[in-house]
Structure formats: structure tokens, C-alpha cells
């Protein structure tokens, strides 16, 4: 009788012990990790770096708290599951923000490409209008070389743009615009001078 009672008590304890053993929410962890990878693929780390870093930090904290819970005898992952679900849920908003930021850079860069196209076309017009003869040729020769170099740089910016590297493309085009505009001014002044004489 005594032995039976003791066994009963131990069994009850074991049952309680086992009942407290929650399982690590691996499926939720995997889903959250996949969500972060989706963000990376959407270039959230480039266009909304703070939001992305914040989410990665949150994930680190959750993973540490999961291990802490996993170290306990009586495990309960309810809180971590909610946090992991929140990570997945916040992905949509961050992707949207990243896309918006990307659209802004994309729009700006496209605008810059349009701008440089206009100035380059204007330069070509100016060159065509420049007085023919030795004096015109001498002025134009100096510019032609620089314009060719700028056009090469714009072509490089185009490839960067096509590869989705909008920020670098934008910086390259901005520099090219600066160069082309200075040539444009020089060209106008030089042509005006030739025409005056």
C-alpha cells in the first residue's frame, strides 16, 4: 500500500513535469527567419536599413529568450510565439516602406537620366549650330573629348541602374550632369564669342 502510494505520487510529479514541457516553436522560428530573408531579398537592408536592423535585433532577442525558456523545467513559449508572429506580420509593412523608398530613388535617378539626356542633346544642338571653320572646330574639339568621357560614364551608370544599383547610378549621373552643364556653359560662351567677332 505504502509502495503504491509512493509510486502514485512520483507518477503525479512526472506528469506535472511533462505537462510543463512546451516544445520550441521551430515552425514559427523558421517562418520569422524566412520573413527576414524575404526582407533582405526586397533590399530592405539597403532602402530602410534602420527598420531592417531593428527587426534583426528583435529576432536576436527572441531567439535568446526562446533558449532561456528552453533552459527551464517548465517551459512556456506563448510569449515568444506571439513575438515571432509579430515579426512575420511586420514584414509586409517594411517591404512596403522599402519599395516606397526604392521608388523614390528610382524616380530621382530616372529624372537625373532624363536631365542629362536633355543637356547632352542641347550640347549636340549647340555643336551643330557652332560656326563652321577653323575657329569653331578648335573650340568644339576641346569639348568633344570631355563629352565622350561623360557619355561613357553615363553608360556605366545605366548598367548600374539596370542591375538595380540605383544609389550608385544616381551619384554617377549627378557627377556627369555637373560636368555636362559646365561644358554647356563653356560651349555657349565660346560660340557667342565666335559669333560676335
Amino acid at each position: 500500500m505504502k509502495r503504491k502510494s509512493l509510486m502514485g505520487l512520483v507518477s503525479l510529479m512526472m506528469l506535472l513535469f511533462l505537462a510543463g514541457c512546451g516544445k520550441v516553436p521551430q515552425d514559427k522560428i523558421d517562418a520569422a527567419k524566412a520573413a527576414i530573408e524575404t526582407l533582405r531579398a526586397a533590399e530592405a537592408d539597403v532602402y530602410v536599413p534602420e527598420e531592417f536592423a531593428n527587426l534583426e535585433n528583435q529576432m536576436k532577442t527572441i531567439m535568446a529568450s526562446i533558449e532561456a525558456e528552453n533552459s527551464k523545467t517548465f517551459k512556456n513559449f506563448k510569449e515568444q510565439i506571439v513575438q515571432l508572429e509579430n515579426i512575420v506580420a511586420s514584414t509586409g509593412g517594411i517591404i512596403e516602406n522599402a519599395n516606397e523608398a526604392k521608388e523614390v530613388v528610382l524616380g530621382e535617378t530616372e529624372g537625373l537620366f532624363e536631365q542629362i539626356k536633355t543637356v547632352l542633346a542641347e550640347n549636340k544642338d549647340l555643336m551643330a549650330k557652332a560656326p563652321k571653320g577653323k575657329e569653331g572646330a578648335a573650340v568644339l574639339e576641346e569639348m568633344r573629348n570631355e563629352i565622350a568621357i561623360i557619355e561613357t560614364s553615363v553608360a556605366e551608370a545605366h548598367s548600374m541602374f539596370e542591375n538595380g544599383n540605383y544609389k550608385a547610378a544616381s551619384d554617377k549621373v549627378k557627377a556627369a550632369i555637373e560636368g555636362v552643364q559646365s561644358i554647356n556653359t563653356e560651349l555657349q560662351e565660346a560660340i557667342a564669342k565666335i559669333k560676335r567677332k
Binding site: E67, S71, E135, V139, N145, I149, G179
Partner: protein
């Protein structure tokens, strides 16, 4: 007997209940404490380092900190898989502490490196600005070969790009671009200076010609013309004294002595006016034809043909004049000296057939031009 039995049973139950109640407490007491605080601390240190761009400025230390953090988490997971009483989190704590240490080092290095890099890039930017000023200044006067001009244009473009990247505080990228710019511009600068230094080897000869021309004007009480190609000036001397100066435009590739027809170079030497042209005699308003090629030019040309530095079918050229239609703001002639028409009127009145015209590379020496 029964009472004794009952008492024993009671004692057993009391003991059993005490054991049941105290067992989990004892059990929990002897369990190792999970290293949550240490790992969280490591995570926070890493985040701080990353926020300060340690990934860029202290890459190795930041990577080490990350690796220690990952090791801490991995060891923690493994320990959790062991029987509860056999778990030992000391290695987890150790890795977490190392991660904190490396993150802090990375942060320190980041602060120092980013400040250093900002300072370095700012200095490079200023130095390159100076170099470009020099190139846009005295150097820009010289007609340089296309290869050098292209290098300068490429360097200028890259410099503009570097300035944009610098203004975005991307110092690492800006530094790379500035290094590239420096290499391109310095190479162009050195090549240009080699050419100019070589050109200025004629300086003593130019000075002699000039001195002889002025002395002749002084002794014979006549007018003489000196063209300074570097300055782009035409000076009029009367009785050995400078009485007038005009802006002059030259051959597109004026640097160097004229070697053959079509080289667009303005010849250097002591010449004389052999014809005064106006009206329908010239298409350049008024013109003063000089006696290029003189005997020295002819000898030099023949020697170049003989030694093969000029092809046999080369022509020495001619019809070098001081003429009107200048003022274009560029050196555009095929070798002549162009003045604005009003200056042409003045010089036309001052000179006669036989008036000496000396064309030299520069009145100023190389040091005077580039002393700064």
C-alpha cells in the same frame, strides 16, 4: 499496536508531503541559471556596434563579435539538449562576454576609424582641389595631347562623383574614389609637366632671341614685335622700349616649334615682315606675312627628313602671318598669330616690311610660371 501503526503512517505521509513540496524547490535551486542577461547584453552590444557602422569601419572585430555571439547561442542550444541537471552554461557566458568585448572594441575602433577616415578624405579632397586648381590655372594654358586631356577629364568626373559620395558621408567609398582620382590626375599632371619641362628647355634660346630683337630695336631706333606664345601676347617695342601689347591667338597646338605643314604649331624664331596685306589680299581683315620658313627652319626640317623623324613626303609649310579675326577665346589657327581687328589696325600702322618679329615660347621662365 494499532495506534503505533497509525502514528507511523502519519509520519510517513507528513514526510512524503514535505518531500513532494520541497523537491521542486530543491530541484530548481540546484539547476544552473540560464545565461539570458549575458546573451542579451551581447546582442545589445552587437546592435550598437552595427548602428555605428562597425561592419564598415571595424570589419574584423565586428565579425569576431558576431561569431562569438553565434557560438554562445549554439552552445546554449546544445546545453539545453542535455539532461537538465547536467547542463553547464559557463561556455555560453564565456562566449557572450567575448562577444561583448569584441563589440565594444569594434565600436571604439569604428569611432576612431570613421573620424580618421573623415579627416583623411577631407584632406585628400582639399589636396585634389588644389591640384585641379593648378591644372585649371597655369597648366590649362598649354595645349596637351588628347591622351592627357582625356585623363584629366576622367579625373575631374571621378572627383565630382567622389565629392557627392563624400557629402553623403560614405567616407570609405569616397576614399576609394579619391585614391583613384589622385592616381589618374597625378599621372596626367606628371605627363603634362614632363612635356612642359621639355618645352621650356628652349627658354635660354628664347631669351637670347628676345634680347637680340630688343637690342636691334634700340640700336636701330626701329619697331620690333615679340610674340609670347605662353602668355598669348603680342608686344610692340619702339626704340627698345615696350610701347604696346595685344592679346594673341595662336596655332591649336602652339606648344613646340613648327616642324611641318599641318602640325598646327606656331613657329618659333626670329623673322621679319615680308608683306603687308589688306582688302582683297587677305581673308583675315589685315595680315602681316612673315618669312617663315627662314634658313634655320629649312635646315632643321631637312635634318628631320634626313634622320627619319619626319616622313620624306612632309612639307615645311608657309604662309605664317599675324592677321585679324582674333578674339575667339581659343587658339584656333593653323600656326598664324590672330589679333582682334582693332589691334590689327594698330600694329598695321606701327610696322613696315622688314620689321623684326620674334616668336618665342615664353618670356617668363618655368619657375616664374609654376613657382607656387
Amino acid at each position: 499496536m494499532a495506534r503505533r501503526k497509525n502514528r507511523k503512517r502519519l509520519i510517513f505521509w507528513i514526510l512524503a508531503i514535505v518531500i513532494i513540496i520541497s523537491l521542486p524547490v530543491v530541484f530548481l535551486k540546484i539547476l544552473p541559471e540560464p545565461p539570458l542577461t549575458e546573451v542579451e547584453m551581447a546582442g545589445m552590444s552587437l546592435a550598437k556596434a552595427r548602428d555605428n557602422q562597425a561592419e564598415i569601419y571595424a570589419t574584423d572585430l565586428y565579425d569576431e563579435a558576431n561569431q562569438y555571439y553565434d557560438s554562445a547561442m549554439s552552445v546554449w542550444r546544445k546545453e539545453n539538449e542535455r539532461f537538465i541537471l547536467l547542463r553547464d552554461y559557463s561556455r555560453v557566458t564565456g562566449f557572450a562576454s567575448l562577444s561583448v568585448e569584441k563589440s565594444e572594441e569594434a565600436l571604439k575602433q569604428t569611432i576612431i576609424s570613421s573620424a580618421d577616415l573623415e579627416k583623411t578624405t577631407t584632406n585628400k579632397l582639399n589636396k585634389l582641389n588644389e591640384l585641379l586648381k593648378e591644372m585649371n590655372g597655369a597648366l590649362s594654358r598649354f595645349p596637351l595631347p588628347e591622351e592627357i586631356s582625356s585623363e584629366i577629364a576622367r579625373g575631374k568626373l571621378l572627383f565630382s562623383e567622389a565629392k557627392i559620395v563624400y557629402s553623403n558621408k560614405q567616407y570609405t567609398e569616397a576614399d576609394k574614389m579619391l585614391n583613384q582620382t589622385e592616381s589618374i590626375l597625378k599621372s596626367a599632371h606628371n605627363k603634362a609637366f614632363d612635356l612642359i619641362i621639355n618645352y621650356f628647355k628652349g627658354y635660354n634660346q628664347w631669351s637670347q632671341w628676345m634680347e637680340q630683337t630688343i637690342t636691334e630695336s634700340r640700336n636701330k631706333k626701329t619697331t620690333a614685335v615679340i610674340v609670347d606664345k605662353y602668355a598669348g601676347k603680342c608686344f610692340i617695342y619702339k626704340n627698345g622700349k615696350r610701347v604696346n601689347e595685344f592679346d594673341a591667338e595662336l596655332g591649336k597646338k602652339w606648344m613646340g616649334d613648327k616642324r611641318h605643314k599641318g602640325d598646327n604649331t606656331t613657329p618659333e624664331g626670329r623673322y621679319r615682315i615680308i608683306k603687308k596685306k589688306e582688302g582683297s589680299a587677305t581673308k583675315y581683315y589685315k595680315a602681316l606675312l612673315i618669312d617663315y620658313p627662314n634658313n634655320e627652319d629649312k635646315q632643321r626640317f631637312q635634318a628631320a627628313i634626313a634622320d627619319g623623324t619626319l616622313p620624306r613626303n612632309s612639307h615645311i609649310g608657309g604662309l605664317i602671318e599675324i592677321h585679324g579675326h582674333g578674339g575667339k577665346g581659343a587658339d584656333w589657327t593653323e600656326g598664324c598669330v590672330a589679333l582682334v581687328n582693332s589691334d590689327m589696325d594698330k600694329i598695321f600702322r606701327l610696322v613696315n616690311i622688314g620689321t623684326p618679329i620674334t616668336i618665342i615660347g615664353s618670356i617668363s621662365s618655368f619657375d616664374e610660371i609654376f613657382k607656387n
